[in-house]
């Protein structure tokens, strides 16, 4: 997977950190200090379609050439998360209980083309 840098236009992962103190949530969310709300953005040219991250094998290259030559036959391809992990939170609920919970698939670690 690629992390977006500068003005890369290809499918990549964009880092975005939400600091709970900045948004005034640090009083009720005890841990962590913030949330890495990374997301996937960028183009998926047809010759990259179907390969999360970059093409890596001969088979893939041939597949890409076929797709590129039959452009109208291929479907659209989107830049989506290919690896995600949970967000572990320690927070106060509405009754001031201290709750620890893991929210699955909240943090995007890698992106790729469908």
């Amino acid at each position: 997977s690629i992390d977006c840098s500068g003005d890369s236009r290809m499918c990549c992962r964009k880092e975005f950190f939400v600091d709970f103190k900045e948004i005034g949530w640090e009083d009720w969310i005890i841990q962590p200090e913030g949330y890495h709300m990374n997301y996937c953005v960028g183009l998926c040219p047809l010759h990259m379609a179907g390969i999360p991250g970059l093409a890596a094998s001969f088979h893939t290259a041939v597949l890409n050439l076929i797709k590129a030559n039959n452009a109208d036959a291929a479907m659209d391809s989107c830049c989506v998360p290919t690896q995600r992990r949970p967000l572990s939170l320690l927070y106060y609920d509405r009754d001031s209980n201290i709750v620890k919970t893991d929210i699955p698939n909240m943090i995007v670690d890698a992106c790729g083309c469908t």
């Binding site: 183009l43 609920d93 001031s96 201290i98 620890k100 929210i103």
Partner: protein
């Protein structure tokens, strides 16, 4: 994407960066609240001191190790809010329960009983701890007698406290249970209650001696 086709993240790229940030922060808030099934962020009325939090977390981890025998995989867990009786927010109490099995009641006398507590890295200086030894009182089912004393913790490591009087009193009545309440003034820390295996958990050492009987029994 082909011109004119809708691309979920492309719309965002078209915004000015400050507007982008606002959209993303709003999305993050909405995403967290919806996953926690909260209509809005909770208003915290009674924040708890960090010392109490750490104790509560250790208790939760100890409970998790007890239930499934292995250091627990991250799971949901609710730690009841420290009830107001736990002293002011700047101090917190911890209760330890010791259960004695007095097999040798009759012919034995208690010479010495010492409570051992392992303190994790307190900051430098002397830290006062109020120790209350609670034990059921024979006068009534809910009565307890309390012996209160103070412990001064100077550094990380083992601290000891003589609890002979309390243990002798328990022993004389054959009562099995001693509750030790530690009130840490200023919430600066708490004894190790979990983790490190149980080698550093609080314990009581009791030295006893069989009473010599006046008649020599040959057996």
């Amino acid at each position: 994407a082909p011109r004119g086709a809708w691309c979920p993240a492309c719309g965002l790229a078209a915004l000015a960066s400050s507007a982008q940030r606002d959209v993303l922060v709003a999305l993050a808030k909405q995403s967290i609240l919806s996953k926690l099934r909260l209509p809005d962020r909770p208003n915290v009325t009674q924040p708890v001191s960090r010392g109490t939090l750490l104790t509560a977390l250790r208790r939760m981890r100890a409970r998790r190790v007890d239930t499934d025998g292995s250091p627990g995989t991250p799971r949901d867990g609710t730690i009841p809010h420290a009830h107001p009786g736990m002293g002011s927010s700047s101090s917190h109490s911890v209760r330890l329960h010791f259960r004695f099995s007095w097999e040798l009641a009759g012919s034995t006398e208690i010479l010495q009983a010492t409570l051992y507590l392992f303190w994790v890295s307190p900051s430098s200086g002397t830290h006062p701890v109020t120790v209350r030894l609670l034990q059921p009182d024979p006068t009534g089912p809910n009565a307890t007698t309390t012996i209160e004393t103070r412990l001064e913790v100077q550094r990380a490591g083992w601290a000891t406290l003589d609890v002979s009087r309390a243990v002798r009193s328990l022993f004389s009545r054959g009562s099995p249970r001693l509750t030790v309440e530690l009130e840490v003034v200023g919430g600066w820390g708490s004894p190790l209650l979990a983790g490190h295996g149980d080698s550093h958990w609080p314990f009581v050492v009791t030295q006893a001696r069989a009473r010599t009987s006046h008649r020599v029994q040959r057996r």
